[in-house]
């Protein structure tokens, strides 16, 4: 304890030096900017800046690169809320309720709550990294194929409650999502599936492509279908800052999102979007009135934003303490460190304390800077929603197209996004929610891959799922949840089931 505090003091002395403070500011500023701009993500930015960082000292370059990464998480929510276009993969969930809030004239509170939740999550997850970094790193190593599989099962069971209304429809949507997830080369056998001989499909369909199509494009088409509707989201932007009630409603969701995000961020086998999705699902499950979700529930902004920022920070745990990058961005950071002659691993905290603790302290500095940068901008952004539809809609489509094209410099992604847009419109007409589809799409491939790997590594025996304690706990929770939902629903119908599920 005392150790950590003295280390943090060292860290702050590093992070607050004029030079590193400047690099931290530069990093978070760039991050916010690219997060807002569709089509430029942290990955591309860091890849382009990497050669420049070789001239810097390792601590400064790490502080700046990290700032870009978590700064982009802040900025990514801005476009998600304002134009329903997730700037970053992890803010796709924020778009669901954030955009609805913007349409109701509450873009200001949505943006402010997103920034505040990210800030709270940033500070708390920094404490997690500081006090439990190596411990969490070791815990992450315990996760093998069996654990990941059972975790995904739990996620899918939770997703059953993501449904508004019709359970059958939402299960069907999860299945459609699972099927989308099948497209591409099978990891285990190397066989191409549903790629129809198209080389671009061998890698599967990109998450952003599907999300932008289903949410942003479909939304626009739907709006165009209504001919004599209002020209702007809302005649007036009501309040710029969240009310006391908004803050109160967001506090617990943000804290729960932080916990989920911090845990998931430390697991190298989990993709960025899982943390924010899980946080969203959890809030929906806990809410007194789940039907508000999808129609501008502020908890639906607070929880996923907290989760994605917390995960962005705890991603550094496996990267630094184990040398295992959880995401492509982390792989770049790892590469940058290796080229500087630093070997990430369990010893990095003792061999290079100024690096590890300087980075941890810079998280705090960076998050404060981001809050200061973002809050005053809320008013400016919120006014953007006053732009008439005839300007806004073409702009969104243009940005979405540029964004999708620039992911791989591939025209195929633009076609797929358009296709997903048409599909999203059809689903809307059929009153089917796209959120469960995205969930099945994200979890399905991970579920399959880990199931098959677990079996492959255990000579085809299913016993591994119950013989490993962490896996057993996840399966147990899934079973209880499922029982709590299914059993009463057989007797009393689904209305009561949701309530019982809350208790269980």
């Amino acid at each position: 304890m005392h150790d950590v505090l003295s280390h943090l003091a060292l860290g702050f002395s590093v992070a607050l030096s004029l030079k590193n403070f400047a690099y931290c500011f530069l990093g978070v500023f760039l991050g916010t900017l690219i997060g807002v701009l569709p089509g430029v993500g942290p990955l591309v930015t860091i890849a382009m800046l990497l050669p420049i960082t070789f001239g810097l000292d390792p601590v400064s370059s790490l502080i700046m690169l990290a700032g870009i990464f978590y700064g982009a998480q802040y900025g990514g929510s801005t476009t998600a809320i304002l134009v329903n276009m997730p700037g970053e993969v992890s803010s796709a969930v924020t778009a669901i309720d954030g955009y609805q809030m913007a349409r109701q004239g509450r873009a200001g509170p949505a943006l402010a709550v997103a920034a505040l939740s990210s800030f709270v999550a940033g500070i708390i997850s920094t404490i997690v990294v500081a006090f439990f970094g190596p411990l969490v790193g070791q815990w992450a190593l315990e996760f093998g194929a069996a654990e990941y599989f059972s975790l995904m099962v739990m996620g899918l069971v939770f997703s059953a409650v993501l449904a508004h209304g019709d359970l059958v429809k939402s299960l069907a949507m999860v299945l459609v999502g699972l099927m989308f997830g099948l497209v591409g080369t099978d990891v285990t056998s190397g066989m191409p599936r549903f790629s129809f001989g198209i080389a671009e499909l061998l890698d599967g369909i990109g998450f952003t492509v599907v999300a932008v199509g289903l949410f942003a494009v479909a939304e626009i088409v739907q709006n165009l279908a209504q001919t004599e509707k209002v020209e702007v989201f809302s005649k007036d932007v009501k309040d710029l800052m969240p009310t006391w009630a908004d803050i109160k409603a967001s506090t617990w969701p943000a804290l729960r999102g932080t916990v989920l995000g911090s845990l998931f961020g430390a697991l190298p086998g989990i993709t960025a979007s899982v943390a924010s999705f899980s946080a969203y699902m959890l809030e929906k499950k806990l809410a007194k009135d789940p039907s508000r979700f999808g129609h501008g529930a502020i908890e639906g902004v607070a929880a996923p934003e907290a989760a994605n920022n917390a995960a962005a920070q705890t991603h550094f745990i496996p990267t630094l303490t184990l040398g295992i990058p959880a995401t492509a961005v982390m792989a770049l950071v790892l590469g940058a460190l290796t080229m500087q002659g630093i070997q990430p691993g369990p010893q990095v905290m003792t061999s290079r304390p100024e690096l590890f603790w300087g980075l941890v302290a810079s998280f705090v500095v960076g998050n404060v800077l981001l809050l200061v940068l973002n809050l005053p901008l809320v008013g400016l952004w919120a006014r953007l929603t006053q732009v008439p539809y005839r300007w806004l809609f073409p702009a969104i489509i243009v940005f979405a197209t540029i964004g999708n094209y620039s992911l791989n410099n591939s025209a195929m992604d633009v076609y797929l996004c358009a296709g997903a847009g048409v599909l999203g419109y059809v689903f809307a007409k059929l009153d089917c929610q796209p959120a469960p589809l995205i969930l099945g799409y994200v979890l399905g491939p991970m579920l399959e891959e880990n199931l098959r790997r677990a079996l492959l590594m255990n000579e085809g025996s299913f016993s591994v799922f119950v013989s490993r304690p962490i896996s057993l706990v996840f399966l147990g929770i899934s079973f209880v949840l499922l029982a709590a939902m299914v059993v009463p629903s057989l007797r009393r119908g689904r209305e009561r089931a949701t309530e019982d599920g809350d208790a269980g």
């Binding site: 050669p51 056998s189 080389a199 691993g345």
Partner: protein, 321 residues
Amino acid sequence: MNRRVTLAAVAATLALATVPGLAQAQADYPDKPIRFIVPFPPGGGTDVLSRIVTDKLNSTLGWKVVVENKAGAGGTVGLDAAAKAKPDGYTLVMAQTSNLSIAPSVMSALPYDPVKNFTPIRLVASIPTVIVVSANSPFKTLADLVAAAKANPGKLLFASPGNATVAHLTGTYFQKVAGIKYTHVPYKGTAQALPDVISGRASFFMASIESALAPVKSGQLRALAVTSLKRSPHWPDVPTVAESGYPGFEAITWFGVAAPAGTPEAIVARLDKEIAKVLDAPEVEARLNGKVDVGPAAFAALIKSDAEKWAVVVKENGIKK
């Protein structure tokens, strides 16, 4: 064109750039930005390697070589774009073993012909695969691993960064060479495999030396052998597979710059020379894990010999991508 003007231009170029006796096409080259296709996403190993080379070309020669990431289908989408580009020297591509020597035998409908559609220019890096085990593993040497595999056929778990990767083919090839059998467990990449390897859930792992560098140096993994003919400058104490009782065993991942087939010879020669100079620069050499000196002809021969070697492994084991 006016002959005198041409001569003057050549003379001026000679004086300015001290480039000896060149044809006119080359004297002007490059007079516009060069598109450098990287067939993988930004930030991956191929991308970083490419940017080291292009940055150096731009900073020393004042050229405008622009990296264009065109990822997809294990690099074949980017290679295909290069194969179909105009062969005027303004499109280059960073090709590697899997695109030119493995793809033809594992992909059912490869849109390009690795030999007919490309002009190899120069090899940039040659990276051995490394065989690693958990620090807690009972295997201290490659011989220990082979003995355990012989005693329990099919029981050892061989983790690889993916199907039809060089590491996977190397591991499969080694089964035949050593007369052993183990179970292949493919992952989506090195990062996904490392937790299982470090914790010992997988018996051993093969991957490119770069990706295993950090956990080996930090003591979480132990390197048993490298698959190059000579020891790696990174780890002079790690033996090669060849010297561990399997003479001649070699499996490397190489990266090299290529252009579409039909690119003028003079331009190929110029690029070859300039890239060779870049590779000689000490700061570049330091980052590239040892220097390679393989020009157009030797590069073409390497593509061919590796393609033949891997085709046999793929065919005998029914490997798919």
